[in-house]
Amino acid sequence: MTEFINRYRRQLTWAAYAGAALALALFLADQLAGLRAARIVQTLISGLLVGGVYGLVALGIVVINKASGVFNFAHGWMMVVGGMIFWSFFTVSEISLVGAGLLSAATMFMALTTVSYRSLREGRNLAVFAAGVVIWTALMTIGGIEWKWLHAAAGTFAGAILTGLAVERFTIRPLIGQPLFTAVLMTLAVAEVLHGVTQIAWGTVELNLPVFADPATGSRFKPIRLDQFREQLGGIAIIRVELVIAFALALIAFAGFIVFFRYTSVGLAMRATSEDQQLAQSVGLRVRVILAITWAAAAFLASIAGVLQGGAVGLSLNISFVALRVFPAVLLGGLESIGGALVGGIIIGVVEQFGTLINSSEQVGTNLAPYVVLMLVLVIRPDGLFGEKRIERI
């Protein structure tokens, strides 16, 4: 018997997977049999659209993991921070000059002292500092309420970079050379601190972030109704415009980052650093600066995702749970794969929406299905779909 198992281990494993897949398909067919085609199409489409934002969140986690080998559990709270800063600049009619000045001064300070605090002794850097503070403060406060898009974009950019740089400087940098376990705990600790800070500053109430308002009416878009397919689908599939815009923007951000990674010298340096930090240092790349840029970029990605998610479903501390659902997506796509982040995000989005379709009252979609996928990935293919195989040496 054991001889038989050992001999046909591979075939038996595949047979077990095929059997499980068949059982799952039968179960799904049974669950979905009573539903109209329109609802299934609608679920698929909204899963795809939600998955786009998940992919963007996953991209931020993958970027950090590629460059510094740290899995960022605080990413969800970075999303919240970014979204909340955007909300502050976007909805508050009068932006305080002092607040904007402090934010830009802190950001410029952190950016200029990335290598060493001594760099501020040079006159040239001080001039850059002053100019940067003036320009950013001006961008954040110029004009009236009709300039709110500019204010919000400049404020979120500065806030995200400040968050990313501060997290990297004060928590990740001191841990260089420590075991991975320490870094995991550190990001968890950062998540808790960001949780407390956002709760103090913005409270637990859900905030309305009217990013996706119809410019004509100023209210929310009317959902798209797929009337023309009524005959084929046996009903009307409804798609929310907010999700479509968020998906499109997520794809643009995604494409932007891929271009950044592939075609800019900083992106090249980041990829080199992720391959081997010591080697990168020995060919003259400034690893410290590159790690700082990576964290700032990831925080900026998190902010974009936070704004999109907040605009689509409402902004509150609960957005951080999105990142918890994205962890399965990251592992599914593979920890090192940028394309895998998008694929994983979309798969998790679809799974989540179908879970909600099958059983909406018990939070199957949001609280169970992604984690079941996570367990399956870990047991069947721990490296994910597109991840690198890890080979260990003693």
């Binding site: 899995f71 502050s88 004060f170 928590t171 001191p174 841990l175 420590q178 991975l180 376990f181 320490t182 995991v184 705990l185 550190m186 968890l188 600790a189 950062v190 998540a191 808790e192 601190v193 949780h195 407390g196 800070v197 709760q199 103090i200 500053a201 913005w202 409270g203 637990t204 918890l324 962890f327 399965p328 592992l331 018990e362 939070q363 609280n367 169970l368 984690y371 079941v372 996570l374 367990m375 870990l378 047991v379 721990p382 260990e392 003693i394």
Partner: protein
């Protein structure tokens, strides 16, 4: 992790190296500290001696600390000694808590049988979620346990809602020894209430009534407490028995408050067609904080001692070798997978015991008590205390809990006054619940950067320095 010794002190035999107490004086101090801990409730305000030296608040605080010491020590076995990260420890505690509560409420177990049963149950759940450790490790395993942290509360909340009550709080009866043989009996008759003087917080009186009625007769039984109020069937101390037809055939009530209790039976239309016998017996109840203290603290000390001894066995040494390098451990002939599973099992058993104690100490359970935050908090406690040190769990839990007790009330008021003045957009309401995550997140960051080996290491260094004073080495 090897113990630190002062310069010039060497272990010359294996027994010496393995000893728990190196000198007789160490042992004396340890036993004295334990005895002092056991004496503490007797000196408290509501203690039986009436000494009023220690506030009751501290007794319940020590009780809660001791419960979390058990849970964090379980985490220490898994994280500190075996090197497997777990983000799902709170979920295992939830299994222990809800398991024991359901066993005691619905399945007729007493606390004493529910405790080992739910420890075993939690251990088995730990085995299931330890299975991925066959294939993945390090950070991937953290992900697998994160899945446990979501799947287990989901299971408790929805599929098992009939038993756990879903999101509603679940009340848990207090542990009890007894009831012993009845000391008073009475046969009840219609319209004549039976009055009995009973009740004591420690030696409670169990009043039980057994009704036997003929077919079609539906007498109603009622109990009035010393205040004269009717005790409702949903009361936490009341257990109601029903026949298959859904009629009440009796009850037993735990009288903890001293006074006169009255049992009344009325069946207006059909007198004589029924008989009712009532008995009162004494039992030892653990409903008060002080009484629970004498369950929790010795059990906590016992489990700490047990964990320390596990580490000294072959199993413990295998744990440490898996942590230090699992490939090398495998080459040495250690079956890494079974030892990882053993670590998961032990860790979950500890979590189960802690969850069970938490349920019976609080007398009320809700799923909010076992969220991801609690798992992270326990990891933070372990790191701050010192992962891989026998006393790490104790130091960490005590430090965090004392920090919370000392800082939060102080910080709440001063911050609520200060922050809204500086930043006008801040609402003082939000500050209260936000201090806690900032506090232990900040403490964890500080310890990871400045003292990654934790307070237990600092304590060892301090002990060495004390023994060598006034010399530096």
């Amino acid at each position: 992790m090897a113990n630190l010794h002062p310069a010039g002190v060497f272990d010359t035999t294996y027994d010496e190296d393995m000893s728990i107490d190196r000198t007789a004086r160490d042992k004396l101090w340890k036993n004295l500290a334990f005895a002092a801990l056991l004496l503490l409730p007797l000196l408290s305000v509501s203690g039986p001696l009436g000494l009023k030296l220690v506030s009751d608040q501290y007794i319940s605080l020590i009780g809660r600390i001791a419960i979390f010491v058990i849970a964090v020590q379980g985490l220490n076995l898994l994280v500190g000694y075996t090197g497997q990260i777990s983000l799902g420890h709170a979920a295992f505690m939830a299994i222990g808590a809800y398991g024991s509560a359901i066993l005691a409420r619905d399945l007729g177990f007493s606390f004493w049988t529910a405790l080992p049963a739910c420890a075993l149950l939690t251990g088995l759940a730990g085995l299931v979620f330890g299975l991925p450790s066959l294939r993945v490790k390090g950070f991937y395993l953290a992900m697998a346990t994160l899945a446990a942290q979501f799947i287990i509360p989901w299971l408790l909340r929805y599929p098992l809602e009939d038993w756990t009550g879903g999101t509603r709080p679940l009340s848990v009866p207090a542990p009890m020894i007894g009831p012993f043989a009845p000391y008073a009996e009475a046969t009840l008759s219609d319209g004549e209430p039976w009055t009995i003087a009973a009740g004591d917080p420690y030696f409670v009186d169990v009043i039980s009534v057994n009704l036997q009625a003929g077919a079609g007769v539906e007498p109603s039984i009622a109990l009035r407490n010393p205040a004269g109020d009717l005790v409702l069937a949903g009361d936490i101390n009341m257990t109601v028995m029903e026949n298959p037809g859904g009629q009440i055939t009796g009850f037993s009530y735990i009288a903890a408050k001293a006074g006169e209790y009255r049992v009344e039976i009325s069946a207006a239309d059909s007198a004589g067609a029924w008989t009712a016998a009532a008995t009162v017996s004494k039992a030892l109840s653990f409903s008060t904080d002080i009484a629970m203290y004498y369950i929790i603290v010795p059990l906590s000390a016992l489990l700490m001692f047990l964990a320390r001894n596990i580490i000294r066995t072959r199993t413990g040494r295998a744990f440490v070798s898996v942590r230090d390098n699992d490939l090398a451990a495998e080459l040495l002939g250690i079956n890494v997978f079974t030892y990882k599973l053993r670590a998961f099992f032990l860790s979950a058993v500890y979590a189960g015991v802690a969850g069970c104690l938490l349920a019976f100490e609080r007398n009320s359970l809700s799923l909010d008590m076992f969220q991801l935050d609690v798992s992270i908090e326990m990891l933070a406690m372990l790191i701050i205390g010192g992962a891989g040190y026998p006393l790490g769990a104790m130091f960490g839990v005590t430090f965090i809990r004392l920090l919370q007790e000392a800082v939060i009330p102080f910080a709440r008021h001063s911050l609520a006054d200060l922050l809204p003045q500086v930043f006008p957009f801040i609402d003082a309401v939000n500050i209260t619940s936000a201090i806690n995550p900032i506090l232990f997140g900040g403490a964890l960051i500080v310890f990871l950067v400045l003292e990654p080996r934790g307070l237990a290491h600092r304590w060892e260094v301090f002990k060495v320095a004390w023994k060598l004073r006034p010399y530096a080495y």
